[in-house]
């Protein structure tokens, strides 16, 4: 039987150890090791109060080191800085936009006219809003299925030798500067897309959105959308891949053990698990597409000011970002500048809303809210598995 010797602090007075020993001896020592163990435990618990009375006072004051305080200060400062920057950007946009908006002679939200500056500035964002949103949504609709396919291929279909190169290739798409996408899109890709556009327009041209205007313009919204789709592909793929990979092995094995083929396993286990991740990835992609500037600026041909507004995706147009970038050179009066900044503010708000929506969707299906059990259990399985 080992007495509390081994666990006793070294500075404990010798007399106490004896007391503990005595107590152990004093207990009715049972015949089995089990009872001995109990007795020992008992002895220990009875010995401790004695230690409190006679031993030196324990030091239980704050244990702060310089490093701790420094690091805590740095962390707090960084956190605060980020919040401050966001706040300043918002304040900057508001402060410059409000005076211009006050002088706006037409409805800022619903007018399609853009004539800032002058004695009676008239400007509205309806056309910009439409082009921005439709081009980004089309980009998302094209990119997400491809991204999910690529992510599934990398995680569950490709042999190891192929998976890594494909993943790297997709990641490389993110490293291409957007000016290159713009040049490539307008010079190389737009002519290739021509027949596709003609085909869709021929089949669905009776719907105004797909109606092809006269003239052989290549810089149309649809082309910009396809290029945007390629640009957001890496981020959507990367997030989807990550979430598909995290599908707990127990779920996958459950499906396989029932005699599921690989695709059935993906449908039963991987896709339900990854759904919220894919949705948030799409939203993130959408956010990027909304704000993309240079590529869209190069690709989209600006409609002639006298032409009537055309909602078709096979016509030219301007997004918030491309409009602002296109006209940055003529920010000559505060009113004019304010008008563009107001447009920028709307883009800021839209992007913010999209990101918030993504977060809400994730929060609903992820730890915390509406369907909390699923993820908690999945998480528990993982952590328990790790500790096992």
């Amino acid at each position: 039987m080992s007495s509390p010797d081994g666990t006793a602090p070294p500075d404990r007075p010798a007399g106490e150890e004896n007391a503990a020993e005595e107590l152990v001896v004093g207990e009715p020592a049972g015949p089995t090791p089990h009872f001995e163990g109990l007795a020992e435990k008992h002895a220990e618990t009875t010995a401790h109060p004695a230690a409190k009375e006679t031993g030196p006072k324990l030091e239980l004051g704050p244990v702060g080191h310089l490093g701790d305080r420094l690091f805590a200060g740095l962390a707090r400062g960084s956190g605060g800085l980020v919040v401050a920057i966001v706040a300043f950007v918002g304040i900057f946009l508001l402060a410059l936009a409000i005076p211009a908006l006050a002088k706006d002679e037409s409805s800022f939200l619903f007018s399609r006219i853009w004539e800032p500056g002058g004695d009676t500035p008239r400007f509205g964002i309806a056309a910009l809003f439409y082009t921005t949103v439709i081009s980004s949504i089309i980009a998302m609709l094209i990119a997400v299925p491809i991204a999910v396919g690529v992510a599934l291929f990398i995680t569950y279909y490709a042999p190891k030798r192929l998976a890594a190169p494909v993943a790297h290739a997709v990641d490389l798409l993110a490293a291409v500067p957007s000016i290159i996408y713009g040049l490539w899109g307008i010079l190389f890709f737009a002519p290739i897309l021509r027949p596709v556009i003609d085909g869709i327009a021929a089949a669905l041209g009776w719907i105004p959105v797909f109606e092809k205007p006269a003239g052989a313009d290549v810089g149309v919204v649809f082309t910009a959308s396809v290029v945007l789709a390629i640009m957001i592909l890496p981020v959507v793929t990367a997030i989807s891949r990550e979430i598909f990979q995290q599908t707990p092995i127990t779920h996958r094995e459950g499906a396989l053990a029932l005699g599921a083929t690989r695709w059935e396993m993906i449908r039963m286990a991987v896709l339900p698990y990854g759904r919220s991740g894919v949705v948030s990835a799409s939203m993130l992609g959408l956010g990027r597409a909304l704000g993309e500037t240079v590529a869209v600026l190069i690709i989209l041909s600006v409609p002639n000011g006298n032409d009537p507004w055309n909602p078709s995706i096979f016509a030219g147009g301007e997004t918030f970002a491309s409009k602002i970038a296109n006209n940055a050179a003529e920010f000559d009066s505060p009113e004019k500048t304010g008008a563009y900044i107001a447009a920028g503010l709307v883009l800021f708000v839209v992007t913010f809303l999209v990101n918030s929506a993504a977060r809400i969707i994730v929060a609903r299906s992820a730890p915390g809210a509406k369907r909390p059990r699923r993820n908690r259990r999945a998480g528990a399985t993982q952590t328990e598995g790790a500790s096992a």
Partner: protein, 258 residues
């Protein structure tokens, strides 16, 4: 239903590492066969080779024969997906599909087999849940998520899911190791009932459990760490626990192992 499994000269490798060496055994139909042995002796690995679930693990491969009903599961042209529809499996951790309802969980295997008829599905789901001793507990909430059940109920749900496709054999990989004693008892009762219709093979670390539920017991051991696991002896459970033929078996079941 219920078929005999004959294994001969089976080796399992993980890459270059030989995990299980030269196992030969016959598993009788309509009986419960328990695999016991220390951790890492390859019994779970071996169990997985009986329905080719080891192939999920990268690098795992098998040499030898596993014959079920005159068919070698490793013969060329045999689809592991088809094998798993005949040889079902229940895992250590209950793994109901988290987004599916209780009903859909049980019906999932049938749907894989192309059963769409709602009436047939309802019938089989009820039969399977009854067969898994779970019907009375869940019959009023079949549309609720399976993940909302207790651990023991989830495990019985997984058993219901496995028997819904009417396999020949059910493999269980430590099905009670994550459960409390009462849930464990419920599963053990269920195993007793399952052997009327199925061939049951169970891996367990709990020797009392092996003694309670199994008809045959196989003891696996490994000579040393890094050496492959081997089948030391196999026989009627009573004999293994009362009068084992090998010293190693006796040491293990009496707790004097290592």
């Amino acid at each position: 239903m219920a078929k005999r499994i004959e294994v001969s000269g089976l080796n399992v490798y993980y890459g270059d590492f030989k995990a299980v060496e030269d196992v030969s055994m016959t598993i009788e139909p309509r009986s419960v066969t328990a695999f016991i042995g220390p951790s890492g002796c390859g019994k779970s690995t071996y169990l997985r080779t009986l329905n080719r679930m080891h192939e999920v693990i990268p690098g795992a491969r098998v040499e030898g024969k596993v014959v079920l009903d005159d068919q070698d599961l490793y013969a060329p042209g045999i689809d592991p997906v088809a094998v798993r529809r005949v040889v079902g499996m229940v895992f250590q951790r209950p793994n109901p599909f988290p987004t599916m309802s209780i009903f859909d969980n049980v019906a999932s295997g049938l749907k894989l087999n192309g059963v769409k008829d709602k009436k047939k599905l309802t019938e089989v789901v009820e039969q399977s849940l009854k067969g898994a001793n779970l019907w009375n507990e869940v019959k009023d909430r079949l549309d609720k998520p399976g993940a909302g059940l207790s651990g023991g109920q989830q495990q019985r749900l997984c058993i219901a899911r496995a028997i819904a496709v009417e396999p020949e054999v059910i493999l269980m990989d430590e099905p009670c190791s994550a459960l409390d004693p009462i849930s464990t008892l419920a599963i053990e009762d269920l195993i007793e009932k399952l052997k009327d219709k199925f061939t049951v093979v169970i891996v367990t670390h709990n020797m009392q459990q092996a003694a309670r539920v199994s008809d045959q017991t196989a003891f696996f051991n490994l000579a040393a760490t890094g050496k492959p696991g081997r089948l030391i002896e196999m026989g009627p459970t009573k004999q293994i626990f009362s009068n084992p033929g090998e010293k190693a078996t006796e040491d293990y079941i009496t707790g004097r192992f290592g």
